[in-house]
């Protein structure tokens, strides 16, 4: 009798536990398989100048953010003051202008702040698929070698920057520094 009750109790507890776990999981919070992989290659026009071709190499070289934005995305607009702060603080931010119209995007940037170093124009979401973009805004952290080290789906927040992004950038910068010193120190 007690055994049977124990079994029933265990089964109920397991089921409730599973349901509770389901509550805690954010279904939109998918882990990106791209973290730890090199930045996917792309060839796109620059948003500002159609005759300029940008590739992933333009995003690589130092620890940098890559932000995916569009003018139709109100969350991107809300996020931009934070990006401005980062840009003023000396963190390079590159961007994909995602599924947008060039004129609209340029007008938007001309009347508001522009935190971006380089903006690749991705009107049909081609690079978007390669980068695993599925909602704007999205932000990646690239290390100096161009490896994706972090991805945030949804807007950055101050808390997130303080807790995760800025410490990561600091660490990656220290890493890059050490690597370049080792290269310089090594006999050629």
């Amino acid at each position: 009798m007690t055994l049977r009750m124990l079994i029933a109790l265990a089964a109920t507890a397991a089921l409730l536990g599973l349901l509770f776990m389901g509550l805690g999981i954010n279904a939109r919070d998918l882990p990106s398989p791209l973290v730890g992989k090199p930045a996917p290659p792309f060839v796109l026009e620059s948003l500002e100048d159609a005759s300029v071709t940008l590739t992933e190499q333009d995003f690589i070289g130092e620890v940098a953010l890559v932000n995916v934005w569009a003018t139709w995305c109100s969350t991107c607009r809300a996020e931009k003051p934070l990006l401005m702060e980062l840009a003023r603080g000396g963190i390079p931010i590159h961007a994909f202008n995602y599924r947008d119209e060039r004129e609209t995007a340029l007008r938007y940037l001309s009347v508001s702040d522009n935190p971006y170093r380089t903006i690749a124009y991705d009107p049909v979401g081609d690079a978007g698929i390669d980068w695993g973009v599925y909602a704007t805004p999205e932000t990646y952290v690239l290390d100096a070698e161009g490896v994706i080290r972090y991805k945030r789906i949804g807007p950055l927040t101050r808390q997130l920057l303080l807790d995760e992004v800025l410490p990561l950038i600091e660490r990656l910068r220290a890493e890059a520094q050490r690597a370049s010193e080792a290269r310089r120190g090594a006999p050629t």
Binding site: R4, A27, L30, P33, V124, G125, I129, D130, A135
Partner: protein, 160 residues
């Protein structure tokens, strides 16, 4: 009443159908029937990661359209189904597959129907065994029977 209801229904369905047609776009061209088949299978097996519970075939989301276009392009370029699925998984994770692969983090998912069945069989078996043992339980002893008879008689006497 009925015609009005019908019109209302039509007014609802027509734009929905149009929107669907617009989202799906022009019929796609393929070099061979095998490619067409591969495309048709793949768009029903890949999940739209924005809408999550829809395949990219059903979804009206722009991302789903992008993914369909990419599946189409890759199919035309001669990539086989496995390569295309691998491509999507590389970008969006296993989540993009409607049929999850059997691997370390999904074994419980795959095993759960069998585990549940096993549980059911165990419960059923216990019930059957319990019933059998109940049937085998000895009936009343002669002494108990006599006592019951006496009780019954006393009861009848009281009633009468």
């Amino acid at each position: 009443m009925i015609p009005r209801l019908f019109c209302l229904l039509l007014a609802w369905l027509l734009p929905a159908g149009l929107a669907m047609a617009l989202a799906i776009g022009q019929p796609l061209e393929f070099a061979s029937e095998a490619q067409q088949r591969q495309y048709d299978t793949l768009v029903r097996e890949l999940r739209c990661t924005v809408c999550q519970s829809e395949t990219i075939h059903e979804s009206n989301a722009e991302l789903a359209a992008d993914m369909r276009r990419r599946v189409h392009a890759m199919t035309l370029a001669g990539h086989d189904a496995d390569a295309i699925v691998a491509f999507m998984v590389q970008r969006y994770g296993d989540y993009v597959r409607y049929r999850p692969p059997l691997q370390v983090n999904t074994w419980l998912l795959w095993a759960s129907p069998f585990l549940l069945m096993l549980g059911g069989v165990l419960v059923w078996w216990r019930i059957v065994v319990g019933r059998r043992s109940m049937a085998e339980r000895p009936g009343f002893t002669a002494q108990e029977r006599a006592m019951l008879d006496r009780l019954r008689q006393a009861d009848e006497l009281r009633r009468s």
